[in-house]
Amino acid sequence: MSFFSFGQTAEIDIVLNDAETRKKVEHKTEDGKKDKYFLFYDGETVSGKVNVTLKNPGKRLEHQGIKIEFIGQIELYFDRGNHHEFVSLVKDLARPGEMAQSQTFDFEFTHVEKPYESYTGQNVKLRYFLRATISRRLNDVCKELDIVVHTLSTYPELNSSIKMEVGIEDCLHIEFEYNKSKYHLKDVIVGKIYFLLVRIKIKHMEIDIIKRETTGTGPNVYHENDTIAKYEIMDGAPVRGESIPIRLFLAGYEMTPTMRDINKKFSVRYYLNLVLIDEEERRYFKQQEITLWRKGDIVRKSMSHQAAIASQRFEGSASSEKALSQAKEEDD
């Protein structure tokens, strides 16, 4: 706000055309709070209206131009001054001149490329936003509207299981297996730990999910590790030949898809850490990377049909077959 001018000031408001119908999602802000933002996907058009409201009726607003930008940028917290813009589109709304009254401008960014997912992390932030600017001689008037972008994938063609034998010679040998190497964010990790040799006194075993955010390049690489989940899978001492099952539902944890070398600026990777703890609190662990991806939502056709499919997965029985045929009847 200018204290020395008796001239006109204006307020800007950005409104999307599909604000009523477009889905909003929660996204963490830098200070840890959660806010809701409009959700966009790659290729979608971003269109709306910019409302410029003059504060002092009757007075004219002199300006050097009004424009709206669509920006996708990466901000590294240790290098705040430099924003790395990977998407930068601009539409001029008004040539330099005077505005006599409040006005509304339409804008449309057609089929905008949004190659990366929005991400707010410990040391880096990737965000997309619209910014409307009224350029003036002394100070510009600006308004930003943040949006959130999700990147979707489909079931990977190749999704081999992870199976490995590890151990300490003549002390502890285990074989662990996870059913896939690539999991979507609402998937279930199904696996098992098979004990081949146990010569130490194990107290319990757990699986941790670790998120590693890597920022910087070359000699300035910085890794930030964060344990997202700790899930106990065994309590007590196992013996040779014992097999411990794993069933870890990922939907309960706040995670993002795996991001590899985004714009050569940062990566976010996820690891499963299998930890065994013995009676003297010594920890034995094996870390394994998994790939997380985001699946598009599918509208469920009928809950009873889904329930019937689920029951069919367990040992076949006459009752589950009856449930399946009953559900089919309801659908028809």
Binding site: L172, D187, V188, Y194, I200, A237, R240, D278, R300, R313
Partner: protein
């Protein structure tokens, strides 16, 4: 028909466990007792020894049962050897109690019954913690401490297996 979106959470296939493995004795049996403190000698040249009895079925130990007598300075020697040769963070020993060794004390000093019991308990905790460590089990000094009649301070330090 809509795509089934219910996750498959069935367990992975496993070999059924052998009953001898399931109900057999565990292969991680290791128990060390430190007991029977005896004060040997007279006057200023007294010292206390403890019996260190070990029972185990771990194949890395040559003897499945052993029984030796050790004094506090032997435990100190073991701690120093392990700190020098292995990468382990060695657990602490019970205190050296230098103040108790000063003259003109009202009590028996380091030969006081309650002190000996405290020390015995601390030594037992120490030796159990260190003997169960897979890396410590590789050190010759640990095997000599637990299973040889006497400690040869001029031994050649090394590993028990490759």
């Amino acid at each position: 028909m809509s795509e089934a979106t219910v996750a498959d959470t069935r367990r992975l296939n496993s070999k059924p466990q052998d009953l001898t493995d399931a109900y057999g004795p565990p292969s991680n049996f290791l128990e060390i007792d430190v007991y029977d403190p005896q004060t040997i000698g007279v006057g200023r040249n007294r010292f206390t020894t403890y019996e260190v009895r070990m029972k185990t079925n771990l194949p890395i130990f040559k003897l499945k049962e052993s029984c030796v007598r050790r004094r506090y300075s032997d435990f100190e020697w073991l701690k120093n050897e392990l700190e020098r040769d292995s990468k382990i963070v060695v657990p602490p020993l019970p205190g050296k109690a230098l103040k108790r060794q000063l003259p003109f004390r009202g009590d028996e000093g380091i030969f006081e019954e309650s002190f000996i019991e405290e020390r015995r308990s601390g030594l037992e905790q120490f030796i159990n913690r260190i003997a169960g460590h897979p890396l410590a089990q590789n050190e010759r000094c640990l095997h000599m401490f637990l299973q040889d009649e006497s400690i040869d301070r001029n031994y050649i330090p090394g590993k028990v297996r490759q």
